[in-house]
Each structure stands twice: as structure tokens, then as C-alpha cells.
Amino acid sequence: MPGLGTTFGRGGATTFVQDLENADCILIEGSNFAECHPVAFRFVMKAKERGATIIHVDPRFTRTSAVADIYAPIRSGSDIVFLGALISHVLESGKYFREYVDAFTNADYLVREDFKDTEDLDGIFSGWEAGENLNDSSILNAGTTNSGDASAIDGNKHSAYNRETWAFELEEVPRYDGNGTVKVPKRDPSQQNPRCVINVLKRHFARYTPEMVEDVCGTPREKFFQIAEALTKNSGRERTTAFAYAVGWTQHSVGVQYIRTAAILQTLLGNMGRPGGGIMALRGHANIQGATDIPTLFDLLPGYMPMPAVARKEQTLAEYLGTNTKPTGWWANTPKYFISLLKAWYGEHATAENDFCYDYLPQLTGNHSMMSTTIAMKDDEVEGYFVIGQNPSASGMNGELTSDAFEHLKWMVNIDAYETETASFWKREGTDPTTVATECFYLPSAVVLEKEGTMVNTNRMLQWHDKAIEPPGDTVTDAWIFYTLGKMFKAHYADSTDPKDRPIQHMTWDYEHPDAHERAKGEPSIHRIMKEINGYSVADGTQLKTFTELKDDGSTACGAWIYTGVAPDDTKLMSRNRKADDWVSLEWGFSWPANRRILYNRASADAAGKPWSERKKYIWWDEAQAKWTGVDVPDFPVGKAPNTPAKPGASGMDAHGGASPFMLNLDGQAQLFTAGLLKDGPMPTHYEAVASPVKNALYGQQNNPVAMEWRRSDNAYNGTDNPDYPYVLTSYRVTEMSGIMTRYIPWLAELQPAAFAELDPELAVEKHIRNGDWVTISTALGEIEARALVSGRLQPLRLGKGRRIHQIGIPYNYGTMGHATGDSPSNLIPFVMDPNVSIHEAKSGTCNIRLGRRPTRTRTVVDEAVPQHKPEGQPSLHGAQRDTPGA
């Protein structure tokens, strides 16, 4: 998640769940921690029992709020105002951790003179290049590392920033070795210069006041001060505060900036890299972290290396390494990791002569993220689709557009353990299967107990799971399916001379299972795959123990450098370590990178390497042994003394001094101001959601100016302050349900048996809705029905100008299949895309609600309007047909 990545260097959660117990205060926002991660929440409860203050800021009073010490209601979609006001508060009151900030951040850097803030441009930063804000699937996604500038290279007309002014003023200093000079950011240790980052930050957030919080978030002022007090009181040398968030912060058109705001606040409070501190990113799926580390994401290669892209002119290996190798900091190692990856994939065929088969890798020509791809499908640009353990028709956005898009496919493969709404999209309500030409396949896949392998938990911990039982019937593992397909393709292309088939021919694919029984079934050896991921020496195949052993000369092969060391030799698998202790548990599982549990833990000691306090001691410099030591694996060169001076002009880590805990950043410092790393601003700015009941109270600019929209009749938007949709809509999941993986289980289905909509009593009375009644919730996109759950757990919010706002909450767990059924809110939520990570906006929108059930969906209306299989811009099944300007 680049919100964290651009600030600290890595996108992963910076701490581990057990350590939450050591926090003196925990701010839970953008997460319904107790309901969605109940078991990890036990550490929050332990902290509470130890006297910590638990704070929950959320649109709804949830099971998390029920046990929190402070609950503050907030209007969904306004978190940046709330967090921004906290930033402003700590800066103005000077209650931030001064020594920490001075030592470990870029607070004293000078921002370029020509940089213009949102203060100056009414909500827009300098470099704005206006254009049609429509997504034409051609914006390059930068991924989670700092790579090329979309607006600079994209021929298409869409708004984007030229980010060159979002940078620091540079000054020439002599190189460390005396030969000539080198340009480095100019600093003002006195921090008097108004262009110092800290002062720029102060100005930027000046208008984020408690009054503004009341007017925009609807959060009572006293609550705000209570929380500000708790945070500042519990941060500093002696005490630490931890933040926990989940998709409540990410699923917004400004999602990344929500996390950025939290990152800045935690940095100012000096809680990063310290026990009981940090930012806990709570991920939703068993291997969601793993699927980012070793991504099935269009813009990334394993280990957070970007996919080659035409837009960044990465036609050759040299060009690729040129853009993605950083002069200073850890990313100076990119060539080692990238070439080792190519060696792992293409084995002996990858040689220095042929650029290690660099040209085997396909090139990105645009944004190929889920939403863009779905639109492309609808527009008949995609023929075939693999859907593996996902259910976009029910759990995605604009479910109707999505299902509709599937009708435009030639073929579709679903791999799952149960029938899903996606697999049987051609049977959905109002659809006549005999009009759907898509050829559909279903492969039954094994569940976790029926196979072995690795899952990576929310705090980057790899855990190996053994196989318990045989899969039933024809069920096979996903690995079997991919492995078998690979063998089939290899066989098919064996004697092809077409260069396009060489990647298949040369792809290393020898994962034969040592066990005869498994081999007979054609199951690949997961251990052999893991060995390749871990990396080995090409010469003798010995497994590598750490990524520092990786070379850029083709002598090492490695599938994912960040995992190197998980399988140090043929017999050992660190992810299988099962020895726990009562805290850090270094011998339980394996946490990337290099088994570190708290990232940037060098910051748990002061600039001089001494613990900030005895109470919060974690990693420190041991003079005697001249090395970093402590209870965790130091996230720092272990022998690099705290007083080591930075070497200007040196490459890689040598350019960093001994007091630079954020190794992956160019300068090793936490980035309060990010120089052009994010597409929507170097500092977080509040923009209203694309569908919002109110005008942006802070700036003239209503929405994220570079958020991506698809303004077409099958993706209608409510727009701003639309009287037809006066209520805030938010979505979430409940403890008892996930999705298709729970709806078929009677024990869970009986606990939350039907889709419901939560609304406050006042609105219920106004709308003549009784608790338990059927209600219909509508947006410009369409309508769904649910049972009303009238509860004082939702409360009307009083915003500025006496505006009273009601919020309606709808769980995302339901669909038409299984024992617990109901409409999915996906039919209410249109495609909108955050510019940085292409995430959708499911957490805040607007809607209307009325008593009674929705009419049955019928296709006839549309059939008249649209002949089948005609691409582009047809009315969606039941969505309203009016286009609403978005920004």
C-alpha cells in the first residue's frame, strides 16, 4: 500500500498483531477491528486490560466501538479532515515528538520554490494538466515503487499532474570521495525557512481545524479533543500509540492519501518502528499480503518490482534497470533482484547475451486493473477470463456491469470450491441463459486443508500449512491446475518456431513431486516451487540464506527476493518454524524481509542508537559488540554505527548515515512530504467522494482531480449533493460472514441469514420504516432490497450550516447463492478508481431508501434498448440512465 510505501519505503504493515498488546493507546479508524479481525483484536483487549486507551472512529457504532474507551462518529469519506486536523493540532501545539522528527524525517528539507500548495490553488497542487477525467484504460499505474509519470507520457486526454515541482530544492555538496560535487536536498536544521517541509505541512493543514472536523465529519468537537489528548499523551519517549486500519480507509477515490495522512501523523508522534506503535494494516484475505508480495497484479513483478511498461520506455533491460534502480537506498539493488527473477523464470535460456530474456516479459500499455479490464470486456476487447477464488459479480463493484461484461466473453474459467454468482452469472435474475454465448468452465478446487503451501498473514508473516486430507471427488489444487496447463502449453508449443512462443518453451517448469502418489495425480511439488521463490545458486542449486547473496550476473536465481531465506536449505523451511514465545516469536513462521517483525525498528532507538526509553526498548546499538541488537532482527545494516556519516554521492546504502531507519527511501528518512511519488499530491488533501451529499467545505475542488471515472450509462454516478440521493451509503462485512466461503455453511448462515440495511431511528420514522421491514436502497446505478435494521448504533450527524446527514450501512457479504442470501451492494456502487492503486470507492457513496421491496429485475427493458453483444455505453439492467458530472 503506497500510502505507507511512499512514506516509509515499504507497503506492508509496519508491526505485528501481537505487539498491539504493548500499545498505550490504539486508534482504530477505517477498520471494524473487532468484527473483521476478532482474533487479532484479542491483543487490543489485552492492551485495554493493561490500561491502554482504545479509540474507535467509525460511521457506525460497531462491536469494536462497544468495547472501545472512546467512540467518535464520523461521516464516511471525511477521514482526511479528521486526521489532518490531528496533524495540525500536534504541529500547532508543538506536541509532536520533536527529537524523533528531527532525526528521522525530511522535516527540515526545503521544498522547491515553484511548488504551489492546495492553499494557493484552491485544492489543486502545481503541475495540474487539465483534461477529460475519463478513464480510457490507458493511464499507467505506478505500482508501489516510485516509477514513471503517467501524465508526462500518456497521449490520452485525462487530467493528471506534472509532478516535477513536487520536489525538494537541491544544493551542490562535495562528493564523499572528494571528486566533484553532487546534488542533494537542501536542509535548514533550524526549520525557520517557511519552505521547510514541516512549515509547508503546517500551512497545508492549517485549515483542518476542530471546527472543520465538526462541520465536515460531523464529529463532535469534544470527541476530537478527547482523541487528540489521548494520542499526544500516549506518544513520545515513554509511551507509544498504534494505528489500525483496513479497507475502510483504502476503498476511496483518495484511498492512498487516507493512509498517507495516518503515516504523517504517526511519524510526527514518533511512533514508527517502535514497540506498541506503528501502523497495523489489517488485510482481508488469507493471502492478500502474499498476493501482493508475489503478485497476481498487472503492474507488479514479485518483490515489488514494476512490470515493464511502454509508457516508461522500458523496451530493453538497460532501460528497465535505468528507471527502476535507485542511486541511493536499498533499491540500488534492483538489478540483482530483477536479473535473478529472470534466471528463475527462464533458467539457462536467460543469459547476459540475450538480456536474460528480458523481452520475454510482456509490456504494459495502460491500466490493466480489474475495473479497466471489466470495461474492456464489456467493450468486447477481452475473449477469455480466469476467475480463481473470486466472486466479482457479488463482491465487486457495479455487479450488473460486471456480469454483463461476462456475457461479452467468448469463454470463462471459474476455479472455486462452490458455485458462485460469478460462475453462474448467466443464470442471474432477469437473464435468459439462451441469450448468453459465453462458454463457461468450472474447476473444483481444493480448500486449505486439502493442500500444503504458504500463506502470508497481514503482518508479512509466511506460514506453511501441511496437507491434512485428500480433496473430494474430482477436486484438484489450484497448483495442479496451473501446473497442468503449463505442461499442456509447453507440449503444444514444443516445436513452434514462433518467437512469441519462446517464453512458454523456455519457462522453467520442473516441479515434479518427489512423492509417487502425488506425482501420479500430477500434483506439482510445492516445496520445489518454494525453493525457486527463495532463490538458489545457479551453479550448484544450493539455496540462498539471504537476499544479500543475490547477484546481477546471472549466477543466482530467485523468484521473490523479499522471501529469500525462508528456505535456507533443502531440509529447512523457516515458514514452518513453530516455536513461539510470549512476544516477538522470531521462531514462529518467517516474516519478510529477513524475518523482521517490526519494520524500521532502528527508529526504536534515538539518533545515537540508545533506546528512547527503558520502557520502550526494542532495538539498540551495542557499543561493545559494535552491532545493532535487541529482541527483533534489526531492520538496518547490523554493523552500521549510529554515528556513521552519510556519504553524499555514494551509491546504495553508503549514501545513508547511521541514523536513517527508512532504508528503502532514497535518503533513508520518513517522507512527511513525498517528492512526486504519488499521483494526487505530495501531501494529503481532503476531497469529497465522487458521490457525496455535500460540497467540499475546504476547497473549490470537489473530488480528487486525478481520480478515474467511467462516465457511461452503465456506470451512472450520483454526483454531488444530488437531492435524489440524500443519504450517505457505506458498506462493510460482518464477523459471521465473508462471502461465498461462508454463505454455504449453515453454522454461519444462521447467525446472519439475510442481507440487511442499517439505518438510524430518526430516518426510519421519517421514512415510515419499521425494524425488520423490507426496504429498497437506490443509487443512480440501480437498486437493491434488504431487511431494515433500525438501530441507534447509527446516528444522524450534524454538519456545517445545520445540515443533518443520515448514514445507511449495508453489509457486503450477500448474494443469491448459499443458505444466507440477499442483494449485494455491488449493484449500487459504480466504478471509480483511485489514481495510485486503481482501487474502487466502496466505502462512501450516496443513496436513497424507501419502504418496500424492489421490482423483480427484468431484462426486457434493456433488450429493447440494446441488442445483445453490442459494445459500449448501453444502459445497465436497472440503473438509472442519466449521466451525472463527477468532478
Binding site: 431511528p761 426510519a764 420514522v765 415510515h768 420504516i769 419499521r770 441507534g792 419502504l851
Partner: protein, 326 residues
């Protein structure tokens, strides 16, 4: 949530459509949920309670009347035969209500004084035995069996246990009900056993008088039987009235609403007052006696039926269960 009333647009808090209140009335306890579980007992149990009462009281009657003279002997004889007939009818009825009838004998794997039902089963067993013996003796005396079997009775050796066990059999069912958590039964721990027994005696004697009438037996005995029936019925009536007053709110399920109506109509009005009135008529007809007997018996059955049904309704009332009667 009562609170919503205050923000409801109109005082009545009524919404559109069916006019049901937007906001439910204040809930009792936990969403008006019953605290207790309803008894699952249906017709077979009600029938058992009814027949068991008559069976036992017939035994008691046999003891009371004795075989002093042929007239009494005939009454006692009828009572003994009634007992044994019912003693063969009751067990199957009782067994039929079990969830697992094939496991009826498990009732006999323990002798458990704390369990009224267990005691009842042993009691029923003993009663059947004695009644059987008495019947054999009776048959022998009536010449259907070898003379030597007369030793089995009818003698005090048989009559007394038959009477005592009979009293127990028709009395324990009342205890069985009141020794539960069901408020209306619990609050009746002193009344229910007593009026059940009275109703049993009334039933038994009215049945006996009916049989006597059919046999064209002694009028004097019939009068005595009717007299006993009246005494028992009057006592029953008094006890029910006292129970109504004593039970207060706990008694609502039994004395108010549907069950209350059935109780006052069938048991009190027809079964007790009606039967008495008819008996009092200055006409001499065997139909009179048969009718009043029928009314008494009907009243007796409805009493059992109402008791069980009231128990179920009582279980549904959380208020009664939060503060249970001692």
C-alpha cells in the same frame, strides 16, 4: 426501543400501510423472548392425567366402600374392574408420548425419589400389580377363576394398598406439574395436587354411579356415590376459586383468555355446577344420572387439558419467569 416514540412524527407512532406501530411497544426483558421452554406434552399426556386420576380414585373408592354387603360389594367390584381396565390402558397411553417409546423401560433402571415421574412409574407398576391381584380375586369370587384364588381378595390386604396407591397415582400427577419451573404450575404447588385429586374422586364416583345405574343397582349406593361426587366436586370448585385468587398474575394463563373461558365453561359451569344442578332435579331417571356423570367426566378432562395448555402459555411469559414463584 421506547425512545423512538418521542421522535415519532405522530403521537400514535403509526406508520403507513398496515397501520402497525412504527415503533414496537416497550419490550419486556430480552425482545419479549420467552425465558422458559414450553412443555411438549400433548393429548396423550392429558388423557393419561385424566384416566390416571379416575383409575387411582377408583382404587381409593374400592377401599372406601369395601365389601361389607352385597350392595357395597357390587360398587367395590365395579371400582376394582375399572381400576384394572384403566391400569391396562394407561401405560400404553403414557408410553406413546415419549420421544423414544422403545426406551420406556429406562424409566425402571433407577429408583429415584427426587423424580416425581420416576416415582409415578413405580407407583403405577405397584398399583397395576395390586389392582391385578384384586381383579383376580374378584374374578375368582365371581366364579370366573378357581375358588382358591379368592385368597387374593378382595380382602383388606388388597383393598388398603389399592386405596393408598390409588390415592398416590391420582395425586402425584398434580405434584409432577407443580414441581416444574412453569410459573402457573409452580404457584399451584398446593392447589393443583389437591383439586386434581378431588376431580379424580368426583370422576371415579360419578363413573361408578353411572355403572351402577346401568346395572340397575342399589339406589341407596348410587345416592351415596353421588353424595361423595358432590363433596369432591364442591371441594374442587372451592380449591379452583382459591387458586385463582392466590395465583394472581401467575394464574393468568389458566384463568384468563381462552383457557380461562374453557375452564369456567366446561369444568366449573358444566362439570361442577351443571352436574350438581341436574342431580338436584326432582326427577327420577337413569338418564339424569348418566348425563350428570358425563358432565362431570368431561369437566374433569377439560381441567387436565386446560392445566397443560396454561402451562405452555405460562412458559411463554418472560415476566412470570424472571421472578419465579417460590
Amino acid at each position: 426501543m421506547t425512545a423512538l416514540r418521542d421522535i415519532s412524527p405522530d403521537a400514535s407512532g403509526r406508520g403507513v400501510g398496515d397501520g402497525a406501530p412504527l415503533v414496537p411497544a416497550a419490550v419486556v426483558g430480552y425482545y419479549d423472548q420467552p425465558l422458559l421452554k414450553r412443555p411438549h406434552w400433548e393429548a396423550s399426556v392429558k388423557i393419561y392425567l385424566f384416566l390416571g386420576g379416575i383409575m387411582g380414585c377408583s382404587g381409593l373408592l374400592a377401599m372406601i366402600v369395601g365389601d361389607g354387603d352385597p350392595e357395597r360389594a357390587r360398587v367395590a367390584r365395579n371400582a376394582r374392574y375399572t381400576s384394572i381396565v384403566l391400569a391396562t390402558v394407561c401405560p400404553p397411553v403414557l408410553i406413546s408420548h415419549l420421544g423414544r417409546p422403545e426406551r420406556f423401560l429406562n424409566m425402571m433402571r433407577v429408583f429415584k425419589t427426587k423424580s416425581v415421574m420416576n416415582m409415578g412409574v413405580w407407583g403405577l407398576l405397584a398399583f397395576s400389580g395390586v389392582a391385578g391381584a384384586g381383579a383376580v380375586g374378584q374374578l375368582a369370587r365371581d366364579g370366573f377363576l378357581p375358588r382358591w384364588m379368592r385368597i387374593l381378595g378382595p380382602t383388606w390386604a388388597v383393598n388398603v394398598p389399592l386405596g393408598l396407591l390409588g390415592a398416590f397415582i391420582s395425586g402425584y400427577t398434580g405434584v409432577l406439574l407443580s414441581a416444574t419451573a412453569i410459573p402457573v404450575w409452580g404457584v399451584g404447588k398446593r392447589h393443583i395436587p389437591a383439586f386434581s385429586l378431588c376431580s379424580g374422586v368426583a370422576g371415579a364416583s360419578s363413573l361408578a354411579s353411572a355403572l351402577l345405574v346401568l346395572q340397575g343397582g342399589s339406589e341407596r349406593m348410587q345416592h351415596k356415590l353421588v353424595a361423595l361426587e358432590r363433596v369432591a366436586a364442591t371441594a374442587e370448585f372451592a380449591l379452583l376459586q382459591h387458586f385463582r385468587a392466590y395465583a394472581g398474575d401467575f394464574g393468568t394463563p389458566m384463568f384468563a383468555g381462552k383457557q380461562g373461558k374453557r375452564l369456567s365453561t366446561w369444568t366449573m359451569a358444566i362439570g361442577i355446577l351443571g352436574a350438581t344442578a341436574i342431580e338436584a332435579l326432582p326427577v327420577r331417571s337413569k338418564w339424569k344420572s348418566l348425563l350428570s356423570a358425563a358432565m362431570t367426566l368431561t369437566g374433569g378432562y377439560v381441567l387436565r387439558d386446560v392445566l397443560i395448555e396454561a402451562g405452555k402459555d405460562s412458559a411463554d411469559d418472560p415476566k412470570a419467569a424472571f421472578r419465579q414463584p417460590e
